[in-house]
């Protein structure tokens, strides 16, 4: 467990240092006032303790000069805070011209993202470092919010509107992104990772998936293309069980029996999905008989196999299947 309490999120975008500098300024001003007021209260409290039970205080009714001072002085401080904040915000809302455009769709409870070349990702975003990135966002159902604390940016994703946001990642690494506007049952797990890569790594990543590759990456591509991803969410909270850590494990079935998840089981689950239903899920998956070739089944199996070392979701089957009204 963490031995220390972190006080600062990482600074990984052009906005992060700007925001943090402003925080320091505001913190200084606010601390000054908070400390001054608390110190005054405590000091007066002890200094003017009642000495005799029937004693009264000195009748002072007010002082116009003081009142004017503490109206005018804070006003200018507030003006400074306002102006500084507005500058950052206006910058944030005005996208630079040459941007890498990523299209983002929020839906209950996942993110669909698409690179400019059409490559799709689910709950993951790969971007090159030091390049202006614009997210163009739409929602399929309710209001969501795409938020990356390490970049200090967020923006609501509103159905019926296209909202945009931009940032320039400045540090290679993996950072959390969250859904920050409450959107229903699984709001808290509607998040993922932004992976900031060196420009050449990013290019390699982009091209790596478009050419013919190893069975695992082909399987991953199929996983997206056949829309397995819409139900078999990594966290197991979709309509179907997660693939994570499933290969080779003992799977508990709805009828109470157990089965080992081997190649045959996976093949059967694709072609006759309702033959064996995992406990906690309902039989809603259609058969893929005739829709996938044997090659593709192998690739999918390879992909699922590759995920066997991933941690399985916390409580498989303990959550109800998603029942979003649509």
């Amino acid at each position: 467990m963490q031995s220390q309490i972190p006080l600062y999120p990482e600074q990984a975008s052009n906005f992060a240092p700007q925001v943090d500098t402003l925080v320091v300024f505001m913190m200084a001003v606010c601390l000054f006032f908070a400390v001054a007021i608390c110190a005054a209260v405590i000091f007066f409290f002890f200094k003017y303790q009642r000495k005799h039970p029937d004693e009264i205080g000195v009748p002072i009714h007010g002082d116009l000069r003081l009142e004017i001072t503490w109206i005018v002085l804070p006003f200018f401080l507030l003006l400074a805070m306002f102006g500084w904040g507005a500058v950052i915000y206006v910058d944030y809302r005005h996208t630079p011209t040459d941007t890498l455009d990523i299209y983002v769709i929020g839906k209950q409870w996942m993110w669909k993202l698409q690179q400019p070349d059409g490559r799709k990702e689910i709950n993951e975003l790969h971007v090159p470092v030091n390049r202006d990135v614009r997210l163009i966002m739409a929602s399929e159902d309710v209001i969501h919010d795409f938020s990356v604390p390490a970049f200090r940016v967020k923006m609501d994703v509103v159905p019926g509107h296209y909202n945009t946001m931009w940032f320039r990642p400045t540090k290679v690494g993996k950072y959390h992104f969250f859904c920050s506007q409450y959107c229903g049952t699984n709001h808290a797990v509607m998040g993922g990772w932004v992976e900031v890569m060196e420009a050449d790594e990013y290019a390699k990543w982009l091209s790596g998936t478009s050419g013919s590759g190893d069975p695992v990456s082909m399987g991953e591509k199929l996983y997206n293309e056949l829309a397995c991803n819409t139900c078999h969410l990594p966290d197991g909270k979709g309509r179907g069980p997660s693939y994570f850590g499933v290969y080779g494990s003992k799977v508990k079935l709805a009828d109470g029996s157990t089965v080992t998840a081997d190649d045959a089981y996976i093949r059967e689950s694709i072609l006759q999905p309702n033959a064996k239903i995992v406990a906690g899920y309902v039989p809603v998956m259609p058969s893929f008989q005739g829709l996938v070739t044997e090659d593709q089944i192998l690739q999918l199996t390879a992909y699922i196999k590759s995920l066997k070392d991933q941690p399985p979701p916390g409580r498989p089957g303990a959550t109800e299947p998603a029942t979003g009204k649509k």
Binding site: P9, L22, I37, E55, I56, V142, K154, V158
Partner: protein, 560 residues
């Protein structure tokens, strides 16, 4: 003038006849038009809702002890925080001080026999009960999971929970607020006793006047907004539904037009309470009376033109965001003026250590922190990062719990002798005040840091790096819960066994302290005539304090 010199309390008897023993029986309470009895009816009902909201809060905090959330399912968690918000905001915080203390005190403070419309006052309590009934029905039949903000289209289309009865309940409850506000405004205008000029009104009354302005002008808008959202849900209309071209952002505009000023509904009355407590226990006139009174009105007015600062990141126009941010910074000034004036009042006072004063000073500290952190959120650049994180949660709990509830409890302790005629055990009460202060800070201060680190609000599950702070917060919450239970126990005890308080135990200068404790049904034996300035200890020899000189012949001035 009827006020006799103060006699030390203890060993006295309660007055032979007062509002509590004027009539007996359930009917005499349920059909009463006496503002004091209605205040007690409200006291019981808001305490009930406070308990319900408190239970939800405890479950939330226990659930958040560990990442991964093992106590309740995500759906249940969402229902818990929604119902916590609905119960606490609409059925506890908004009516708490106005409907309990305001109802009890405003007529007495201005020297009237009752509010202008006593029957409407009773009606507003029944409306509250009906609204509350609908909301409890919603809680009981599965609860609702939309967040207290009812953002469309989640609330109007996608949520599967019992949204409709809750919306109806809040809609109905709105009329209770409207009628209370209407009653207060008219009462303050037309029912003042001879000599009670505007500039002699206690600041508590000024604060409630400002609050009533918000009740009157804001509440109808939330009523119509929730009505439209409810209709949209029931009949699949399209007011806020993008599928029909409706705009969810419009809902937010209309919702916050009321709900931002509603924050001031909660805090303004608490500020009024503090403005009474501080001069009483510093035994000197309040510093800058007219500035505090004017700032109440200023907050009420400016508070209406800042609402869209809840919507900086919804795609609102940049110009609009800049304008609303500026206006939001402006509203900080009247709040700051109040804090500076309260602090200055302590200077050269004769300060005592009584329980209400502890709440008063605690309020100053917590409200200062709550207010200053509000600046972070008003600041456009920082709101990009802090919006919808735990920073927001911490900020508004500092205002609403640290501000409004501390004010409410302070007020209850301050006027308890007037309400019941008896004193509570002082040392126990002081301990409770300190426990509350400590527990509160431990609960909510870590949430500022959580928010700055980026933990979004309304998460049933969070990454493990946030755990330490969450554990601190939960630990604080258990202390806080103890702090709330203590007063409930000893105040109930004192109703029967407390020492008899006498007319004016502190002593304080307001008109309410010149009548019996508890007062008569008609409040005063004869219509009082006010011939002293507000918070004046110096010219009030009947209070029996040292250094008081006899009244100077002060002509009434400033009549409206």
């Amino acid at each position: 003038m009827s006020s006799a010199p103060i006699t030390p309390s203890g060993g006295e008897k309660l007055p032979r006849e007062h509002y509590l023993n004027a009539t007996y029986g359930i009917r005499s309470w349920l059909l009463t038009t006496d503002h004091k009895r209605i205040a007690l009816l409200y006291l019981i009902s808001v305490t009930f809702f406070f308990f319900i909201g408190g239970i939800f809060a405890s479950l939330i905090r226990i659930h958040l002890l560990t990442p991964g959330g093992y106590l309740v399912t995500p759906e249940t968690y969402n229902k818990l925080f929604t119902m916590h918000g609905v119960a606490m905001i609409f059925f506890f915080l908004i009516p708490s001080i106005p409907a309990v203390l305001g109802n009890f005190l405003i007529p007495i403070m201005i020297g009237a026999k009752d509010l202008a419309f006593p029957k409407i006052n009773l009606l507003s309590w029944y409306i509250y009960l009906v609204g509350g009934g609908f909301v409890l029905y919603s809680f009981a039949t599965g609860g609702l999971d939309t967040g207290w903000t009812f953002y469309t289209p989640l609330s109007s289309i996608y949520s599967n929970s019992a949204v409709t009865p809750a919306v109806i309940g809040i809609f109905i409850n709105g009329f209770s607020s409207i009628l209370t506000g209407l009653n207060f405004i008219v009462t303050v205008h037309t029912m003042r006793a001879p000599g009670m000029t505007w500039m002699r009104l206690p600041l508590f009354v000024w604060a409630h006047y400002a609050t009533s302005i918000i009740f009157i002008l804001g509440t109808p808008v939330i009523a119509i907004t929730l009505l439209l959202a409810g209709l949209e849900r029931m009949f699949h209309l399209g007011f806020f539904n993008p599928a029909y071209g409706g705009d969810p952002i419009l809902f937010q505009h209309m919702f916050w037009f009321y709900s931002h000023p509603a924050v001031y509904i909660m805090i303004l009355p608490a500020m009024g309470v503090i403005s009474e407590i501080i001069p009483t226990f510093a035994r000197k006139p309040i510093f800058g009376y007219d500035f505090i009174a004017a700032s109440s009105i200023g907050i009420a007015v400016i508070g209406f033109i800042v609402w869209a600062h809840h919507m900086f990141l919804t795609g609102q126009s940049t110009y609009s965001a800049v304008a609303f941010s500026f206006l939001t910074f402006l509203v900080a000034i009247p709040s700051a003026v109040k804090v500076f004036n309260w602090t200055s009042t302590l200077y050269k006072g004769s300060i005592s250590f009584d329980t209400p004063m502890l709440y008063g000073l605690g309020f100053i500290g917590l409200f200062t922190i709550g207010g200053l952190t509000g600046l972070f959120l008003a600041c456009l650049g920082l709101d990009i990062h802090l919006h919808d994180t735990y920073f927001v949660v911490a900020h508004f709990h500092y205002i609403m719990v640290g501000g409004a509830i501390m004010g409410y409890l302070g007020g209850i302790h301050f006027w308890w002798p007037k309400i019941t005629g008896r004193l509570y055990p002082e040392s126990l009460a002081r301990i409770a005040a300190i426990v509350l202060f400590v527990g509160f800070n431990l609960t909510f201060f870590p949430q500022f840091i959580l928010g700055f680190l980026g933990m979004p609000r309304r998460y049933h599950d969070y990454p493990p790096e946030y755990q330490v702070l969450n554990v601190m917060s939960t630990a604080g919450a258990s202390i806080l819960a103890l702090g709330y239970l203590l007063p409930m126990v000893y105040l109930t005890w004192s109703m029967r066994y407390g020492k008899v308080a006498g007319k004016n135990p502190w002593p304080a200068t307001g008109l309410e302290w010149t009548t019996d404790s508890p007062p008569l049904t008609e409040n005063f034996h004869e219509t009082p005539v006010v011939d002293w300035e507000v918070y004046d200890f110096e010219h009030r020899p009947e209070l029996g304090l040292l250094g008081a000189v006899s009244k100077k012949p002060a002509p009434a001035h400033g009549d409206d």
